[in-house]
Symmetry: C2
Subunit: 566 residues, 2 copies
């Protein structure tokens, strides 16, 4: 029998849990209205699609997701990726554009469910944390820049740093003063609320938690204020772009466009959106889960998020995932279960039914300002700084990811990030660390001759290899042994000490056979020591041990005692 | 001052070396005439381009290459790759097709020289031996099938196994009986010479070496015989495809087509041809070099082969590399230096000047037969069998390479081969081997509790991690520790034994910090033991050691002695 994750919390659901969830739902709904409109704007889609993406997907995740407090919906980075992907196959503002976004959500959803059912959650392991962090930071910069056009009231299409800057500079003469005024006002208002409101409210005697929560409502206040101003001052006549008429009512069942050409063109973006969305969401889910000792099951999360995206597609939405700020608000407001999300979805549904006329006068510049101010939470300079001090490969991967994302857009950015982190990892293992070792006097331990004061024997060369041996470093190993043997004339035995060799693939095995043969021609015997169990099992399956001129020793010390010429 | 590799052998060049080289040059020239025509046919190019590719490139390599006996020129696999690449941008038989092949040679040459000057020879380390061997085996099958059309005298374009078989089956009704007769005769003749001539000649009292050498001249005999038959029986009138008129004379200086679109389309194929050609050539060079204790310098080889391809391009040839059979014949015939290649090039030049009319009646079916019979040296079932017994990842990579090459052609084949071998390697390191360890009684050694009879302590969990820690296995490590700790209630100390951990990247460091934090919440302390020097240096650059709840021990035994509750 299939067990839905929601059965865990439905059992034992009671009044107290309900009132916690209900309060959280109200707060999240209020927060989500401007957010969902803003991310639809960012994705280049009509505002109602933002609302649609915040109803059914939340219910689908509530039924199938494993986090109890994760709040699913449109998020900044995925919306930017949607804009980039859909912008390649259709003109922004057309029906084809909106329909391609729906198809993209469907494809991401299906891919996520497939990955989950195949238990392929592990593929996201290859998105290293530094790469994801660099990618999100760079996306944040692109998002902020792309929203500046709404603040200035100008046109633009660019999706890379040079294109966005070019658009801005070339269109600045066409900017709309009234729009700029609204935009700058909203920016200042939001920034001030964010930076100073919590302190101010605490000063008035409010509890810290409540003060923080109220400060999070700043976007709603900005929306109400600027909507009022726009209506009263008739800003529409002054050329300020407004949200305008939003179709009233709930989304109809939509059937996504499924032409083979469209599917082919959207496959790669859909996969990237699925992976990035999943990684972001799981990291939010894990963070919240750790606070309440709840476990997140990655493979079930794939299914939950996939279902949410499919739900977005059939109800006219666009790609969604678990959002950081929204989930934190949900958690802090006291949500106990996904029932909060179901009630939030209902709240958004009521908004779509009754409140859309009130949103007519909402200036797009206000929505852009909410996005820009929220972006700062995406910029992760800390990881970059940490990587700089810690590891050149991680730092290199971050820098490549950021530069490629800024220079060539989100898709090239993610792909180069993953490729470069894998390439740098392989490059590191290609020239493995090794050490000529000698005996620590009076012990059976062997240490690097360069780092420790150790005893060596003239006729023995002991090399400790600090890496698994495989195709990429097989050639290096050969070179290394020949070079070290050539340095010393009197060597009769080469012992490769292998406590850190976790596997030997066929290419490396052939290299060892070649080394054995060539050393033998020079009357030098090759030995191995401290070979791990699984490696030894593999060697026994080959003919290597039969041809090995020397022996395999369990302990390096035993090898040295037997072979040392006294 | 720049030193050319050829200066090494030019100094001290004398009469005896000259006569050895001269004899080898005569034998290689005779062998090379049918071979260069055949590979031009395989590449879909006019026969004279095969001759052109066997002159200047040999001289360029002689000046800049480091192997003394490697023989450069058109080879089977590279010719097939050329046909595939050029077939995508032009129609076979047109001037554009030939000119694109010239451009391809130029691009491969420039890429090789660049890789050499940047000392990037290491990139070829990522072409693992099993992958290369699988690729060449699959290419051999494709080559043999593609030549069957010349044996049957039918048309065809296919470049994959299904397409080639489809072409053959659908065109069989159109086959030409006279062509088939010539082709089958040539096949039988060549096969018989190859299998039985050496034994037969030895039986007549000839030395083994001489007998083998004469057997290698079989293709020349087949060429002469079938040419004579074609001329006397007027096979042209019976529809047998002949080599026909070859322009007499030496190649004029050619300027390759360099339109940006063509360059963009040929970039990937040129890179793949450069890499595969280089790997093949270096492996031949190394094999021969080892026999005479000569060293091959990979980066200089890149320059030498690059120069050979550029030389091919400016003299109207197509991509070349060091060939196996040709180099072996050169070596066995006694060539001592690259002067033999210079003389071979001169021999081919004389052929182009004076002998081309004699080749008019040469049936293409004969050339196809020489290719088919030579293919068997490319089929490497041994490596496949070895991999099957030894290592599932290597075997998987071979199978993927062969299937993708057969099913989707050479380019997809190489790329999937490289990708799959890297992916399988990463997959292996993603779920690293680990062991719960205990003390071997009476020693300071620690071994797997599952493989050895060892002593453990109730309050200590000792886990030996047999892999470097990095982004792909960071999540696995967390899961592993939590699972093992959850299994036993009484654990107070977790010691990660790290003698096989050769690096810890930033993602893994974050995982360790998380483990440390979560264990601490359960009042369990995390310790490390036997951390390698370079890893310890890296950890000291981070804040990890300050936050570590437990300690870092040099020896695992010291850790257990201190922490064990008596």
């Amino acid at each position: 029998m299939i067990r839905l994750p929601c059965q865990d919390w439905l059992r034992g659901y009671n009044k107290s849990t309900f009132s916690s969830d209900f309060l959280a739902a109200i707060i999240v709904t209020i927060m989500l209205i401007p957010q969902s409109l803003a991310y639809a704007l960012l994705a280049g889609l009509p505002p109602e699609m933002g609302l649609y993406a915040s109803m059914l997907p939340l219910m689908a995740y509530a039924a199938l997701g494993t986090s109890r407090t994760l709040s699913v919906g449109p998020v900044a980075v995925v919306s930017l990726m949607t804009a980039t992907a859909v912008g390649k196959v259709a003109q922004a503002g057309t029906a084809d554009y909106a329909s391609a976004a729906v198809t993209l959500a469907l494809m991401s959803g299906v891919l996520l469910v497939l990955l989950g059912l195949l238990r392929f959650g592990f593929v996201t392991n290859f998105l290293s944390h530094p790469v994801v962090s660099g990618f999100i930071t760079a996306s944040g910069i692109l998002i902020a820049l792309s929203q500046l056009r709404h603040i200035f009231g100008i046109e633009g299409q660019g999706e890379t740093l040079p294109a966005l800057l070019g658009d801005l500079l070339s269109s600045l003469p066409d900017m709309n003063a009234a729009t700029l005024t609204v935009g700058v006002f909203a920016l200042f208002f939001l920034y001030a609320c964010r930076s100073h409101l919590p302190t101010f409210l605490s000063g008035l005697g409010l509890q810290n938690g409540t003060a923080n929560m109220l400060a999070k409502a700043a976007p709603v206040m900005a929306v109400m204020l600027t909507t009022l101003i726009a209506m009263l001052a008739d800003l529409e006549a002054r050329g300020v772009a407004l949200v305008g008429a939003i179709p009233r009512g709930l989304p109809a069942f939509s059937q996504p466009a499924l032409s083979p050409q469209l599917l082919a063109e959207l496959l790669l973006p859909a996969l990237l959106i699925a992976l990035i969305g999943f990684v972001e969401s799981v990291s939010v889910g894990r963070t919240l889960g750790a606070k309440r000792r709840e476990r997140i099951d990655p493979n079930q999360e794939l299914v939950g998020l996939g279902a949410a995206n499919i739900a977005a597609a059939v109800s006219g939405g666009f790609p969604v995932t678990g959002g950081f700020s929204r989930s934190v608000v949900n958690f802090d407001a006291g949500a106990k279960t996904q029932a909060a999300s179901v009630m939030t979805a209902t709240g958004i549904g009521l908004t779509a039914l009754f409140l859309t006329p009130a949103l007519y006068y909402l200036p797009k510049a206000t929505l852009a300002a909410t996005i820009i101010v929220a972006i700062s939470s995406l910029l992760d300079w800390k990881t970059i700084k940490e990587a700089w001090g810690y590891d050149y490969a991680d730092f290199g991967a971050i820098v490549i990811t950021i530069l490629m994302t800024l220079g060539f857009g989100v898709e090239v950015g993610v792909i180069s990030g993953v490729t470069s982190s894998i390439a740098l990892h392989l490059y590191r293992t290609m020239r493995p660390h090794f050490a000529i070792v000698g005996t620590v006097p009076g012990t059976e331990h062997y240490r690097n001759v360069k780092r420790h004061d150790v005893v060596t024997h003239e006729n023995i060369l002991s090399i400790r290899i600090d890496e698994s041996l495989y195709f990429a470093n097989a050639a290096f190993l050969e070179e290394l042994v020949y070079t070290e043997v050539a340095k010393t004339g009197a060597v009769e035995h080469v012992i490769l000490m292998c406590p850190a060799v976790n596997s030997i693939d066929l290419s490396a095995l052939e290299a060892l056979q070649e080394i054995n043969q060539r050393l033998l021609e020079r009357r030098v015997l090759l030995h191995l020591s401290e070979v791990k169990g699984p490696v030894m099992d593999a060697l026994k399956r080959s003919h290597f041990l039969e041809n090995l001129a020397g022996k395999v020793f369990l302990h390096h010390h035993a090898a040295v005692q037997e072979l040392a010429r006294v």
